[in-house]
């Protein structure tokens, strides 16, 4: 109930004050799942791509962090390269989550991580290593994946 109430309010706030390149869709019957479309930012390897991200609010949200899951495959050190596509770092980590953090902040954070990966908090260690040691190769692969999986 409380999770529902808060997610509805967060949605109203985001509708009144949207984030550039981030669109939010939801099913009226299930306010605890948002379907988010993120447009890849210019001058990043994700440029020209459209990424679908599901946000699931746990029942005890906002005491627990929302769960982020990329439905579009993406080559990124901080997003798991499996069918979950999970992203769980920084303010989203259970031991860093603060119930006062708003979804506006969370989504701005996602956008920032897409622009500037955090290899030291990587979930995909190999991609992180490549990002640090062979950035050219990383950029090439990330661009390829964007072309392959994220073009509309």
């Amino acid at each position: 109930m409380a999770a529902q109430k808060r997610s509805i309010k967060e949605l109203t706030m985001l509708n009144n004050d949207p984030i550039d390149g981030v669109e939010i869709d939801h099913d009226d019957k299930d306010m605890l799942t948002w379907k988010i479309t993120i447009t890849g930012l210019e001058e990043t390897p994700y440029e020209g791509g459209t990424f679908i991200l599901h946000v699931t609010f746990p029942n005890d949200y906002p005491f627990k962090a929302p769960v982020l899951s990329f439905k579009t495959k993406i080559y990124h050190p901080n997003i798991s390269n499996d069918d979950k596509g999970s992203m769980c770092l920084g303010l989203l980590r259970p031991d860093s989550w603060k119930p006062s953090t708003r979804m506006t902040t969370v989504l701005a954070f996602v956008k920032q991580i897409l622009t500037t990966p955090e290899p030291d908090e990587a979930i995909e260690v190999n991609i992180a290593k490549e990002f640090k040691d062979n950035n050219k190769e990383f950029t090439k692969k990330a661009k390829e994946w964007t072309k392959k999986y994220a073009k509309r």
Partner: protein
């Protein structure tokens, strides 16, 4: 424990099982039997009150609650069920006091139900406001009818004297009819104007239905009724903060260590919330 007390306890256990299975009728009967064996156990009465709540037997539920409170002063559940039954019977003022007492006991005893009891307090507050609103609307509409009738009477009197003047030959029939029409038109205009004035003064047309940010809890995003302030200066509703601290003993904003004992009631903000809710009961659902 003597034999009848032990037997009563077993009956209560059976009652609990029935209750859990959704068989409230049977549960109520078993709790009654337990009470026959031992009428000094407050729990038996609160359990029966809970079954009677489910059965929507409000009066009987209230009796049980009062009895359980008699037996045990700080009976949180007794007050909690009492508030629910009183709300169901549309006694929001009584319900508000019962819910508030339950809430205070919760806080005093660190009871984990503070969250749901707090929602009940707000619900009662909303219904108090709704009752007041209903009364206000009724009074206004009665006043409007009275004023409309008054204008009607004045018009009737004027028309009556015009008829008399026609009869006495003071004015011609056609002049008289014209005057009558004028009286009718002006009365109609006055009544329209009066209705407009009443419509404008209706708070629905005046207030933007929004709750100011400073009355909103930064965690639940709902209006607060018992705000406490943390070391950062930020205020939260006590019940949501307790809920958060149960999971993580950290400040919701800075994640520094925080205990509920470190927080103080924000008295001024509490008064502001109270006053706002007094006039804007709808804010509970906002």
């Amino acid at each position: 424990m003597d034999a009848s007390k032990a037997k009563a306890n077993l009956l209560k256990e059976d009652g609990n099982k029935c209750f859990q299975n959704g068989n409230y009728q049977e549960a109520e009967a078993l709790y009654s039997k337990a009470i026959q064996k031992d009428s000094t156990n407050a729990k038996f009465f609160t359990n029966r009150a809970m079954a009677r709540l489910k059965l929507e037997a409000w009066d009987n539920c209230i009796d049980d609650c009062l009895k359980s409170i008699d037996l045990e002063n700080d009976n949180m559940k007794g007050y909690y069920y009492l508030a629910q039954a009183q709300l169901a019977m549309h006694h929001p003022n009584e319900a508000y006091h019962s819910a508030l007492t339950a809430y205070e006991i919760c806080i005093k005893t660190s009871n984990s139900s503070a969250g749901s009891v707090s929602s009940l307090v707000l619900q009662a507050k909303k219904e108090k406001w709704e009752a007041k609103e209903k009364d206000r609307i009724r009074r206004h509409s009665e006043l409007l009818t009275e004023l409309e009738d008054g204008l009607g009477h004045v018009a009737a009197y004027e028309k009556h004297s015009i008829t008399a003047r026609i009869k006495n030959g003071e004015i011609s029939q056609s002049d008289g009819e014209e005057e009558m029409k004028e009286v009718e038109d002006s009365t109609r205009r006055k009544i329209e104007e009066l209705q407009n004035i009443f419509a404008i003064s209706d708070p629905k047309h005046l207030q933007r239905r929004e709750v100011p940010d400073y009355l909103i809890d930064g965690i639940s995003f709902a209006i607060m009724h018992d705000p406490v302030v943390t070391r950062t200066g930020q205020s939260y509703d006590r019940s949501t903060l307790i809920e958060h601290l149960r999971r993580s003993s950290t400040d919701p904003l800075t994640r520094e260590p925080l205990r509920i004992e470190d927080c103080r009631t924000n008295i001024a903000l509490k008064a502001a919330c109270e006053q706002f809710l007094e006039e804007n009961g709808w804010a509970v659902d906002w």
